[in-house]
Amino acid sequence: MDHASSSAPGRVVLALEDVGKSFGAVAALRGARLELHAGEAHALVGENGAGKSTLVKILAGVHGPDTGRVLLDGQPVTLADPAAARAAGIAVIYQEPTLFPDLSVAENIFMGRQPLLPGRRIDRRTLARRCRELFDRLGVALDPDRPARGLSIADQQMVEIAKALSFDARVLVMDEPTATLSGVEVERLFAVARSLRDSGAAVLFISHRFDEVFDLCDRITVMRDGQWVSTDLARDLTVDQVVRRMVGREVSSLFPKVDVEPGDVVLEVRGLTTRGVFSDVSFDVRAGEIVALAGLVGAGRSEIVRAVFGVDTYDAGTVRVSGKALRKGDPAAAMAAGIALVPEDRRQQGLVMELSVERNATLTRRWQLARAGLLSSRAERAQAAEWSTRLQVKAGKLSDPVSTLSGGNQQKVVLAKWLSTEPRVLIVDEPTRGIDVGTKSEVHRLLSQLAAEGLAVVMVSSELPEVLGMADRVLVVSEGRLVDDIPRARADEDSVMLAATGQGAPSAGAAR
């Protein structure tokens, strides 16, 4: 069942053999495998964090593998940098468009490969003509001479596709290219991918949308936790089988969520909308409840909680805390009303890495701790010590810079910083990302304990086991909408995953 090469249409163009790649202590890939045949469209699927994007970056020459080999036409190759990958005939369309905003669309497409006149001068006329030809082929109405700045995300993605198309790639890699495209644009993209495939190129397609995967692809490779799971002909598989292989693990009992009788509604979100990001998001969170926002990366979960907290403003809707409406785009008001947000990226947004543990832990309370406008070190230290003890922060000295702590302990300092404001609603965005397993369960124990003390907790998480283990209710976000509200009893990996990928039947009156 794991190899289908006998019935594959062509020879192997590109292969990855037992590729491993680590970033610091985190192993993104361990024994990843992939075989792309000439003239096939091949799907690569897996959960968030399964290692798909790392694999793409290895193919693109952005990262070099720590272990294993990359084979091109059966010969081992080193893709030292993106230029080398491109020279090898590998074109990559990234999830996030990577354009030069100040340069024209045509220059973006042909950067470094502009057609030349004698004397190595750029032939601008041919450049514009070839750009128009590409756009005609893609059916896009864009002016080749306009700057890339101000293009909609979908148009940017079309420019990326034109770029990949422009250098007759032997291998076309598309990392979730359809997330921002409309139906017609997806169809155009697929038509192009099919014509490339039929002319003998290998197409690697990464997507969470199973209908597209099954529509376009001949074979499907499943990855989980950085490892290869299976490769099969698409026609031998069903969506259910693929989903089961993607999640394929036991929900561990690492997550000691204490059952709490929920109290009054504390946080009330109604019709929250930011055009183009998320729309009509409504939900309640009660005291003592942990509500998880689940969904795929890019579904809009972080954007929703940022809007609730007021870091970002929004176009429509209301946020109420204990019945009192919050002014939009005003984090200070949100804090005063009792909301705390522990952001996704603690290094960038949660901590001042160079400052000491105690300074960081008391940053949110610096005005209360100050006397006559001057901070008292003693008051800071007392407060920091109290919270560090409660959260069991393992630090050498409280005066050490936060950057010297481990990821898990850094996260505890961020929690301490926000818990010291005595919030009523705690929003945590990816609370355990990049944290080792032991500390992870400590963070979970802490969140559970806080909920038991009557805190309303909103948790954004891409890790399904964490969502299922911790949440009283799972709100599933897909493409900027709340598509499902699954109570703990009904939530399992399949139901959440299917809803997140747009496969689940939307339950009646979702998310109220």
Binding site: T98, F100, R121, F135, G502
Partner: protein, 359 residues
Amino acid sequence: MSAPATKSPAALPEELAAPERTGRRGSALVHRLFVVRELGILAALVLLVLVTVVANPRFLSGQNVRDLLLSAAILTVLAAGQTMVIVTRNVDLSVGSVLGLSAYATGTLLVVAPGTPVVVAVLAGTAVGAVCGLVNGLVVAAAGVPSLVVTLGTLYAFRGLDSLWASSADRLQINAADLPAGFKALGGARLLGVPVLFLVAVAVVLLVGWYLRTFRSGRELYGIGSAPEAARLSGIPVGRRVLTAFVVNGALAGLAGVLYAARFQTLDTTAGTGQELFVVAAAVVGGVAIFGGSGSVYGAALGALLLTTIGTALPQLGLDPFWRDAAVGALILAAIALDRALQLRLAARLRGRNARRDR
């Protein structure tokens, strides 16, 4: 959310393949805005000259204009080089010191070997600058240190080297009397009534402008400044390009040092002090975005001309020279405000263009 499955073969379905062709208006618009930007500086320049002429008709006398062009020449050469560095989202603050070092090196060469042909002297001064630029570029590109910090350091280091050299050679000042006549003639030379030094500056601007617009590596400099990560992903050799920009800028600062020596003919170790910020100001006033990616060398050259003209016009208007700094400051703020306004306008117009695409 999903597209219906089409089982059509490779050919694009007819209804999808027919794009609605929109006019060239997008590019025309962008082009117009750039022209507006450069015409704006030109208009300010013309206005300034007109006002000054009304107050003092002798402002446009031949000698006065020639002096103005001579002063502008040096700043213009520096601004052309600086533009190359700034479009890559870097900055070179050491150019004033490089100018000083190169001027002193050229002077010393001519004092020690008075028979040196002028061309060799020019090349020598330029080479000194190129070496300085190489030092800057290597530290920035290879060590990945922000250019602001690196060139702030070399600003003092190169100046220190200059002083050290002058004191150890016991030649703290080089006077006109020490320099060979052939070289001094360069400072006053004219072609069809126009100072040769100014023609050199014009040639530099045209060359750099042509390079930036016409060659792949020139466009890549803009790409690097516009989106460094995208530049890396598209396989642009970012380090090498940035290094090149610094070397060329250093060479041009060296050339400016030679021009300085030819024009003033009295050289000490303070030559070019403080020029670096004036150069950056000229580029910014000329519409070169300080965060890289956009702006032209022609704009920067006009900026240099405008700043120089302000310096000479204000005394003619009977204003205290103190007002020069204030005027330059006001001009920088006005330029930034104008750039922002144009950018917002452009963004709004381009958004309108997206909206017509029915989604």
